[in-house]
Symmetry: C2
Subunit: 148 residues, 2 copies
């Protein structure tokens, strides 16, 4: 149900949170570690930067980095930056009698989406990395990481 784009964005953000460096990540290295096609990741990083989650530094030591501490970035923000959770705000059928208040069918679907927002909005990137009850995200890829 989550798009490939959302999955890729999360991988990139988690990697940047796990191995931050002064210079930042170049797109090619990040793409390799995140197992994402380079051109695809470039677009993902554009969206993340537009949403204020990452920033790009220019220059020879330039690259991408998180714009905010991982404690201040939720999974929901990352997902919404590239492929927003689609809440149902109005009747998809355009029925006049449903324009003020959704019918039970669309209300239930919307409630399910609200639960998704709830779970993802209550998890920060920092929490994902601090959770020792499970294997570290991107663990094997990060192991071979050439820090720039």
């Amino acid at each position: 149900m989550f798009s490939q784009t959302a999955e890729y964005a999360l991988r990139a953000v988690v990697l940047m949170a796990e191995a931050s460096s002064e210079g930042g990540w170049d797109n090619k290295t990040l793409a390799k570690q995140a197992q994402v096609p380079t051109s695809y990741l470039a677009k993902v990083l554009q969206s993340l930067t537009r949403a204020g989650i990452t920033r790009s530094k220019r220059g020879s030591k330039g690259g991408f980095a998180l714009a905010r501490p991982p404690q201040e970035i939720t999974i929901l923000e990352v997902v919404n930056a590239v492929d927003p959770i689609a809440r149902i705000k109005k009747c998809p059928l355009g029925l006049r009698s449903h324009c003020e208040i959704l019918c039970p069918m669309h209300h239930r679907l919307d409630r399910a989406m609200a639960e998704v927002e709830n779970v993802l909005g209550n998890s920060t990137i920092a929490e994902l990395l601090a959770d020792t009850s499970r294997p570290k995200p991107m663990q094997e890829t990060i192991r071979f990481l050439p820090i720039v």
Copy 2:
């Protein structure tokens, strides 16, 4: 986040639950009322029939009808019949250390999907029609319905 196919399947099932008839619905009438392209709905009905939610009756009075009472059909079943909720069973990156237990990142995404299953699995089609606190699903389309 829910696909167009899932939305179409729900519309069709709700309509069949609202206006059942001995003969059943012909695909063309149902497509018109559900505001779904006829050929698209034919495929949706195939999937619903394969999942045991609808059945087709042959003959001059033939057509599609629910295979079970609306009390016994959940929204989740309808959605899963055409576009299953994608739970995360194994590491999408194929990381060896994550094959037994998901990392926190994929675990949170999977938990969000579990919540979706929970909301949709706890709502039957009958409940959607019995909820008087909201406008009836498909209300305006059903009003002009030529019962067969």
